[in-house]
């Protein structure tokens, strides 16, 4: 397939060997998540269940055929493996990060990297085109994520910047190595450790930082000057680029003010700190959106979204609004490569326990964390120090909020009240509560983590919130539903898929919405590489008649690069295939419908705030609030049954059936499940 470089790097850290996997072997899985799951299955499935810390755990880092071409916002790289984060079962999971690593890897001639085994002492992988070296990391171990990168830049390109560098492979580049690294937190094998690349790109979820640390792998550096990505139809690709930007986003400086969307969104959309006048928007590779920013102060470079949100509530409470402390707090989480969603929910939890008189100096959970300075960057720094030193509550917190609560004997009660806001698989709640924006919660619990997939979120949540807060409704709920009914191939023609009413979220229609979401994200985003903040582009006021570029855009770019002629529906089928493979892996890890349950508070505590969503009530579409809602246990069990039916999985177990798997050309998967007594 054009777009592929043709080889995947396979590194065995135990034996210190470097081999190549022919990408053609996995071409049917296309890229990213598809190839990652397929390789994981081949290398590990028959040995499951194993611990994530087991050297047999394989981590895959995969690009897509579109990475490093002119397809917009395809600079993402997918990371997979058995993760450390979820509870009680450590699911095979995924993380994803942006920046320029994927592009550089393609330029080095690789489609991805597979990491097996465990090194006997700290090492880092140095990739210079097809020269791959497993190098000693004793002088990198103990450095934070930023220090490590700067040190590796010195090692690989002599610290030079601004000039052409001749590589050891006789090639030339002006670019610095792209490095993916852990901090001291990852070195400790902490479950809350992330992987960081450049200043602010991170694979936050899954605890992959801790997996790297457990494997004694400090960093992967890649510099690529030899490779060039073959594009099947360069003219069509450039045309598609122009078409997408002109018709779905327009010129940022001259376009009228309209309700934007994923693709049409505003640059620096993700920057939620304190802006300085002297700045620029900052983009990942080949992205026309540029969510982040860089400043004269050099603080909060490339940070965005939860890197601020995890702490902005505390800063505002202390200072009456955001201050530079917030920007500094963002930098801390990047340098120390920590999962920001965990930090968010941990901090709120600690503060609540402190307010309850349960946690603090001399209290039942004894800590000298200085709550009087909560809201300053220094408070976060102190917390991180405790985590790294393993002192005070720091040791427990390395395990994440849920396991810390368990250690403190409070897990069950705090999940019952929602004081511990971890609704699905011991993963922190994202801000789109299962009781309200159900497609997010359902997708997460039917999967293995907080999905972090905004495809519907932009217009089912933010639009109505903005509309209601200003009394201005440029796009109606009915129109959103209608647009979705046109675009959600292969489930077109059903506007009620977008009904978030108390009845709607348990309906057959909603089952299709959730299934569409799983299949779409598995293929078009996590395998083809489109960024979650640009795709899917469903409702977009900059597009013709408020319509975004999904499903046409994805197909245009994909076919122009690869030379294939697939349809959107065919891509969705590949997504469904990948989703089935993932489920099979989870089944081998111990999945059964009986464990697919939200935390108690989702069923027992009414959602306390206003959360407007599109709803069809009494024959009328409107944006209405889901305040006070809880998920009904019995109705949700019924929803699961309907979902399993649609997916062709056993309704008693949630396991895929032989007929479903064989129809997806996954007979070998069915055979292994059968051998393990786990076929649906």
């Amino acid at each position: 397939m054009k777009g592929h470089m043709g080889k995947i790097l396979r590194v065995n850290l135990t034996n210190k060997t470097v081999k190549t996997i022919d990408t053609k072997q996995y071409e049917e899985w296309v890229g990213g998540h598809g190839i990652g799951s397929a390789i994981f299955w081949d290398l590990v499935a028959s040995q499951l269940p194993i611990s994530p810390y087991d050297p047999k755990n394989v981590v895959t880092i995969m690009t897509s055929p579109l990475t490093g071409t002119l397809a917009p916002s395809t600079g993402r790289t997918e990371v997979q493996g058995i993760g450390l984060q979820s509870y009680p079962i450590e699911w095979f999971t995924r993380g994803n990060f942006g920046g320029r690593f994927g592009m550089m890897l393609k330029n080095a001639g690789w489609d991805g990297i597979v990491i097996e085994g465990k090194a006997d002492k700290p090492c880092w992988i140095n990739i210079v085109d097809d020269d791959v070296d497993i190098a000693d990391a004793s002088d990198l171990w103990g450095l934070d994520a930023w220090e490590t990168q700067e040190e590796i830049w010195r090692k690989v390109s002599g610290g030079k910047f601004g000039k052409w560098i001749e590589t050891s492979t006789g090639r030339y580049t002006t670019q610095r190595p792209a490095v993916l690294t852990i901090s001291q937190v990852g070195e400790l094998g902490a479950r809350i450790a992330s992987l960081v690349h450049d200043a602010g790109n991170a694979a936050g979820q899954g605890g992959f930082g801790g997996i790297f640390g457990a494997k004694n792998l400090k960093a992967i550096s890649v510099i690529g000057a030899k490779g060039a990505v073959e594009v099947a139809d360069p003219k069509a690709l450039f045309e598609a680029w122009k078409w997408a930007i002109e018709n779905y986003r327009g010129d940022i400086e001259t376009r009228p003010s309209k309700t934007p969307s994923a693709f049409g969104a505003q640059p620096t959309q993700g920057f939620w700190g304190v802006k300085e006048k002297n700045m620029r928007p900052s983009a990942c590779a080949v992205c026309p959106k540029a969510c982040r920013a860089k400043f004269r102060s050099g603080i909060a470079n490339e940070s965005q979204c939860v890197e601020f949100a995890y702490y902005s509530w505390a800063v505002s409470a202390r200072y009456g609004g955001p201050t530079i402390e917030l920007n500094k707090a963002a930098d801390l989480t990047q340098k120390y490569a920590i999962n920001n969603y965990e930090l968010l929910r941990i901090l709120v939890y600690l503060r609540t326990l402190n307010a309850m008189g349960v946690l603090g100096k001399g209290k039942a959970i004894d800590t000298d964390l200085p709550f009087d300075i909560l809201g300053t960057a220094a408070f976060v720094e102190e917390l991180i120090r405790k985590i790294i030193q393993g002192k005070d509550i720091g040791l427990a917190l390395r395990e994440g909020g849920v396991r810390a609560a368990k250690q403190w004997g409070r897990l069950e009660q705090d999940l019952k009240t929602g004081v511990l806001a971890y609704p699905y698989w011991g993963c922190p709640e994202h801000g789109y509560d299962p009781r309200t924006e159900a497609e997010w919660g359902y997708g997460s619990i039917l999967g293995e983590r907080d999905i972090n997939e905004h495809d519907f979120n932009f217009f089912v949540y933010w639009y109505p919130l903005g509309f209601m807060a200003t009394g201005n409704f440029p796009i109606s709920a009915e129109e959103c539903a209608k647009i979705c009914s046109e675009k959600l191939i292969p489930y077109t023609g059903d506007p009620f898929m977008l009904d978030y009413s108390d009845e709607g979220i348990y309906s057959e229609h909603f089952v299709k919405l959730v299934a569409w979401h799983r299949h779409y994200t598995r293929f078009w985003k996590q395998s083809v590489g489109f960024c979650d903040w640009m795709f899917a582009d469903l409702v977009n006021a900059y597009g013709p008649n408020n319509r975004g570029l999904t499903p046409d855009g994805e197909v245009r770019f994909f076919n122009a690069v690869t030379g294939k002629n697939i349809t959107f529906a065919e891509g969705m089928e590949i997504g469904r295939r990948i989703w089935n493979l993932d489920n099979a892996i989870w089944v081998l890890q111990g999945r059964h419908r009986d464990v697919v349950k939200f935390a108690d508070y989702i069923y027992e505590v009414p959602f306390p705030s206003d959360y407007p969503l599109p709803m069809y009530i009494k024959g009328e579409w409107k944006f209405a609030s889901a305040k006070g809602r809880k998920i009904d246990r019995a109705k949700f069990e019924d929803f699961k049954t309907k979902f399993y039916t649609l997916e062709g999985w056993s309704t008693s177990s949630g396991w895929p059936t032989r007929s479903t798997l064989e129809a997806l050309n996954l007979k070998y998967v069915a055979d292994l499940l059968a051998a393990k007594g786990k076929l649906g």
Binding site: T173, I245, K277, M279, P281, P288
Partner: protein, 259 residues
């Protein structure tokens, strides 16, 4: 950290032919259908003083001095130039993808004739280096080329490489005063490549060249690249780094409208 080369770049001094190697028949024999243009540099210095030059009466006035410096180049000048706004550039590298795509049919950072370097830890505006071929009025690359592979296109004045004649000696790359050099080695094909203002783009559906479109400009999603026909300021190259930001850029909270 940036090497601090930006100051050096901007202090190029183009001697009036002195030091340029005008050797070999290749250059002397070049047809010059576009006559060399005289570049006039206008320096405006504003001085507030209490002395007058025309009258003995002391008064406060503002004097503007205009000096004219003439650079008479040896070569024909290009009919077009790419200018950039490094304060607007977001570091997406789309221009590099587009450039390599239309010229080579494949995408590669090392085959792009425009180079953007992103330093994630550096402070704005030093965090991004955005460099393009300047189509220099006095091109050291052309002067350095021993075979005449690097020459002036007779119709357009664009400085271009004849791949057949290039012997891959790297003299042009060393001679180019841009940092990084805008003469780029295509190691696989064993010839140098450079910005040709999209004159030769077999993989593009658009017409390039001095009267056509330019891939980097077309691709840039933020309009941080522009093609112009007027010769930019040569003495300190400041004319190649321009402000392409509107007031709206600042209103939208994306950065300063003024430099």
């Amino acid at each position: 950290m940036s090497e601090g080369k930006r100051l050096d770049r901007r202090k190029f001094l183009y001697g009036l032919g002195a030091g340029l190697i005008v050797g070999g028949g290749a250059v002397a024999g070049a047809t010059m259908l576009v006559p060399p243009q005289t570049i006039t540099k206008t320096l405006s210095t504003t001085v507030t003083s209490q002395t007058t030059i025309t009258s003995p009466v002391t008064s406060t006035f503002t004097k503007t001095t205009t000096t004219t410096e003439t650079v008479t180049p040896t070569f024909a000048t290009s009919k077009g130039y790419i200018v950039v706004d490094p304060k607007k550039c977001v570091g997406c590298l789309s221009c590099m993808m587009a450039c390599s795509l239309v010229h080579e049919g494949k995408t590669s950072l090392s085959l792009s004739r425009i180079q953007v370097l992103n330093n994630p830890f550096e402070r704005f505006p030093d965090d991004i280096i955005q460099e393009q071929c300047k189509q220099c009025v006095n091109p050291p690359c052309v002067a350095a080329c021993p075979t005449g592979a690097l020459h002036i296109d007779p119709t357009t004045g664009v400085r271009v490489v004849d791949k057949e004649k290039c012997i891959f000696c790297f003299k042009c790359m060393k001679a180019c005063r841009n940092v990084p050099s805008m003469m780029i080695p295509n190691v696989e094909k064993k010839y140098m490549i450079k910005c040709d203002l999209c004159m030769d783009t077999p993989y593009w559906g658009e017409k390039g060249g001095v009267d056509g479109k330019h891939a980097c400009e077309e691709a840039c999603p933020f309009k941080a690249i522009k093609f112009v026909k007027e010769v930019p300021e040569q003495l300190d190259m400041s004319g190649y780094y321009v402000n392409l930001r509107s007031k709206r850029w600042e209103e939208l909270g994306l950065g300063p409208a003024e430099d």
